[in-house]
Amino acid sequence: MDLVTVNGLSKRYGGIVALSEATFSARAGEVHALLGENGAGKSTFIQILSGAVQHDGGSILVDGQDYRPANPDAAQVRGIAAVFQELSLIPDLSVEQNIWFRHEPRTLLRTVNRAEMRRKTLALLEKYNFPVLRPDQELRRLTLAERQIVEIAKGLAKDPRILILDEATSALPAREAEWLLKLTRQLAAEGRLVIFISHRMAEVRAIADRLTIFRNGSTIAVHEANAVSDNEIVTQMIGRHLDRLYPERIATATDRIALSVKNFSSGSRLSGVDFALREGEVLGVGGLQGHGQRELFQALFGASKASGTIELWGKPVSIANPRQALIGKDGIALVPEDRRGQGLLLTKSVRENLTLSVIRRFTENGLLSRQKEAALVKEMVDFLRIKAGTPEQLAGTLSGGNQQKVIFGKMLLTQARVLLLYDPTRGVDVGTKGEIFQLMRDLAAKGYAILFHSSDMPELVHVADRVLVMRNGGVAATLEGDRISEAGILRAAMLESEAA
C-alpha cells in the first residue's frame, strides 16, 4: 500500500498559484524523486507535507488516514521530517543544540542533559557516517555546506518514516553529495520513504526508484526511473525540447587583460594566487572544495581582506569593500554563494532587489524615473524568465531558483564587465541552466570577462575556456584546451607533481 497519497492538492499565495490539483503517491522503502522547473511548486509541496504551510484544497492520506498537519510538530508526530531548502537552523545555537532542538534529552530539573545530548549526537553521526562535525561549534561559524549537513542530521534525529530532502545536495561538495546519495539509498533500504528533490539529473538517475514531474503546480507525469530517458524527463519538466545543455564554446578572448591578480594572499586560506583574466574569456576556478575558491571570490569583491595587487583593465586598484568593487563600468560584480545571506534582501521586492545598487542609473536631475526603472526591470525579468507574480513580489517568497535568477539580474544591471560567478547555477533548473551558460558565452562575446566557479565539475569542463585548479589556497595548475576534463581537474587538485 502507498504510504502517502495526495490528491488535487492546491495552494495559492494571493494571486500566485503555487500548486493546482497536484497528485502524488509514494511507498515505503523507495527513493522518490520530485522534479520540476524553478517555481514548479516542489518546495511548496514539501512545506505542506511537513506542516510549514497549509493547503487550500485537496487531500493527503498517510497510511490511508487523513493528514493535515497544522504545524511542523504535527508532521513530526506522524513521522514526517523535512530537510528544508532554506534550512531551519538557529545561528546562535550549537550544532548539537540544533540537531536536537525541541527534542533534547532532559534532566530532572527540566534542563537540557548535555552529556546525554552529546552521546546521542555522536551516536547519530556515527550511525550514518556523517562527515566530521564538531557538536559544540556554534552554527553561525559553519560554512553553507556544513550547515546543510547539520540540517540533514536534524532531519534524521527524528527517526522519520518519511524524510524529505529539498535540494539537499546543491550546497554540498562532490564527496559529501556522494555520501548523501548513498545515505539516501541506505535509508530506503531501512524501509523509509525518501522524497528527493534535485536539479541534478545524474543524482536522480543514481538513486531514484520512481519520479514524479511537476510543472506549473500540477503533476505532469510519474515514471519508473528505469523506464524513461533523460530527454523525456527534461522535455516534460520544461514543456519544450531542450537541444543541448552546454552552448558551443567559441573562443572570444582577446589579448586585453581585464583582471590581473598577483601574489594574492589572505591568512592561511589564500597563498600567492596569480592569474590573468582576459576580455571575452570565461575562466573556470575548480579544485576540491575548501581550497580557497570561496575566499578568492570574496576577497576579489572586497568582502574580505587580502594582500597582493589587482589590476582592472590595466589600472591598479585597491578594493577594500564591495562598494568600491562595484563602481562604474570598470567594476567587478559578484554572484555570491549564500544567496539568502549575502545576495538578496528577502523582505524587499524583486524590483528593489534588482535596482537597489544601481539606483543612480534611473535618476535624472535628482529625480527617480519610475518608467525607466520599470522598463529595465521588465527587460531583466523577461530576459532571465524570473517567475514572479509581479515585480513587486517579495524576493523572499520566490522559489529558490528564481531567487538565484534575481541575483544574476542584479549583477547584470550593475554594468560591471568583470563578473565573478560563484556557483551561479546552484538550485537552478536544467532549462535555465542552459540559458545561463548561453548567457555567459554571449556576455563573453560582448567583451565581458568572467571568473566562474561551479561545484558541479562538468559545468567547468563544458563552459570554461581555461580552468584554474586551486589547491591549498594557491593555483596548482591552469588547464587549457584538451587538458580540461574532470579527470584532469581532479588530478591537478590532488597530485603535487602537477603543480604549475
Binding site: 538557529i90 550514518y128 566530521v132 564527496r175
Partner: protein, 341 residues
C-alpha cells in the same frame, strides 16, 4: 525497481571537511564574550576609582547598599533581557512599575494576608499585561516597540488615575523586607543571587532555549515547530512579571507609590543589557552581563556623587559608557566575522 534491488551500499564517511578543525576554538569563544568582558572591565575600573575616592567601598555594607540601589533596575532589566534575547523590546515595563507601586501604596494594609494577596495580584497582573503585549504583537503583527509604547501609556494613565501624585504608603513590616539580613547579606543580595540561579536554570530549559532560538532566527524556529505566538506570550509575560517584581521591591525602598517613577527604568533596563553584551538583534546575551551593566549604571551615580560634580553628569557618563560598550561589541563582532569568511 531495478535500482532498489541492487545490494545497498552503506554510506561511507566522506573525507574530513576542511574547516572542521579539531580542538576548541578559543579565539572565537573569546570574541563572543568580548562585550561581557568589556563590561566586567568597566565595572572593575569604576569600582577602583570609586574605592580610591571613598573609604569603605570594599566592604559588605557597601555591597548591601549598592545592590539595594541597583536591584529594582536589575529586576526590570531581567525581564528586558529575556525580551531582547527574543529579539523584541518592552517599553511597557515603565507603566507596569508605576502601576505596581501605586497599587501597593494604596492597597497594602497592616494585615499580612491582605497584603500578600495584593502582592500576588500585582505579580499576576504584570504577567497578564505582558502576555497581552505578546498576544497583540503576534496577532496584529505589529512592532513590539509600538505595542509596548501604547501599553506603557495606558498603564501610566491608569496609575495616575489611582494615585495622581507620589504618596500612599506601605506597612513598615513590608519595608523591612528590603533590609532583612542573613549571614551578613541583605535580602537584595540574596535576590541577586536568586536571579543568577534562575537564569542558569531558565536558559537551559525548553522555554529558555526556544525564546533564544526564536530571537536568533524566527523563520527557522517556526520551521522547527515553534509556536511564535506562544513564545511571544511567554516572553512578554515574563517581562511583565519581572517589572511587577521590580515594583514590589521598589516599594520596600521608597515606602510609597509613584505614578511616574517607572519611566526611569525603561531605557536604563535596555542600556544595562546592552552594556552587558546582550544583542539588540536577538539570540545572544546573558543575564550576568545585564546585572553587571546595572551595577555599572548605578555606581556611575555614586561616582558622580563623591566627585562633587553636578548630578547632570550622570546621564552624560552613562551615555558615554553605553557608546563604548556598543563599540566594543561591534568591533568584536567584526573581528569574529572576519574570521569566518
Amino acid at each position: 525497481m531495478a535500482i532498489a534491488e541492487q545490494p545497498v551500499e552503506m554510506a561511507q564517511r566522506p573525507a574530513e571537511m576542511k574547516s572542521a578543525k579539531p580542538g576548541i576554538d578559543w579565539r572565537g569563544r573569546l570574541l563572543d564574550r568580548a562585550p561581557f568582558l568589556v563590561a566586567c572591565l568597566m565595572l572593575a575600573l569604576i569600582v577602583a576609582i570609586y574605592g580610591s575616592l571613598q573609604s569603605g567601598v570594599f566592604s559588605l555594607d557597601e555591597l548591601n547598599l549598592d545592590t539595594a540601589a541597583a536591584l529594582t533596575l536589575m529586576l526590570a532589566a531581567t525581564g528586558q533581557t529575556i525580551v531582547l534575547v527574543r529579539g523584541g523590546i518592552d517599553l511597557s515595563i515603565g507603566g507596569m512599575i508605576s502601576l505596581g507601586t501605586v497599587i501597593a501604596a494604596t492597597r497594602f494594609t497592616d494585615d499580612p494576608s491582605t497584603t500578600a494577596l495584593w502582592a500576588l495580584a500585582i505579580l499576576a497582573l504584570g504577567f497578564l499585561i505582558g502576555a497581552l503585549n505578546g498576544l497583540l504583537i503576534s496577532l496584529l503583527k505589529l512592532q513590539p516597540f509600538l505595542v509596548t509604547l501604547a501599553t506603557w501609556s495606558i498603564l501610566n494613565g491608569v496609575a495616575m488615575i489611582i494615585l495622581p501624585t507620589d504618596g500612599g504608603s506601605v506597612p513598615g513590616w513590608w519595608v523591612s523586607f528590603g533590609y532583612a539580613q542573613l549571614f551578613g547579606l541583605t535580602s537584595p543580595v540574596w535576590m541577586l543571587l536568586a536571579l543568577l540561579l534562575f537564569w542558569w536554570w531558565f536558559r537551559a530549559t525548553l522555554v529558555g532555549i526556544t525564546i533564544q532560538a526564536t530571537g536568533s532566527n524566527e523563520k527557522s524556529a517556526f520551521l522547527s515547530g515553534v509556536s511564535i505566538t506562544r513564545v511571544n506570550v511567554i516572553t512578554y509575560g515574563l517581562s511583565g512579571l519581572f517589572a511587577a517584581g521590580a515594583a514590589l521591591f521598589l516599594t520596600t525602598q521608597t515606602g510609597a507609590g509613584s505614578p511616574t517613577i517607572g519611566k526611569d527604568y525603561i531605557l536604563p533596563s535596555v542600556a544595562a543589557a546592552v552594556i552587558g553584551g546582550v544583542s539588540l538583534f536577538g539570540g545572544r546575551g546573558h543575564l550576568a552581563g545585564t546585572l553587571i551593566g546595572a551595577f555599572v549604571l548605578t555606581l556611575i551615580g555614586n561616582l558622580v556623587f563623591v566627585l562633587h560634580v553636578s548630578s547632570y553628569w550622570q546621564p552624560v557618563a552613562s551615555g558615554v559608557i553605553l557608546l563604548l560598550s556598543v563599540l566594543a561589541s561591534s568591533v568584536a563582532e567584526k573581528a569574529a566575522r572576519g574570521r569566518v569568511q
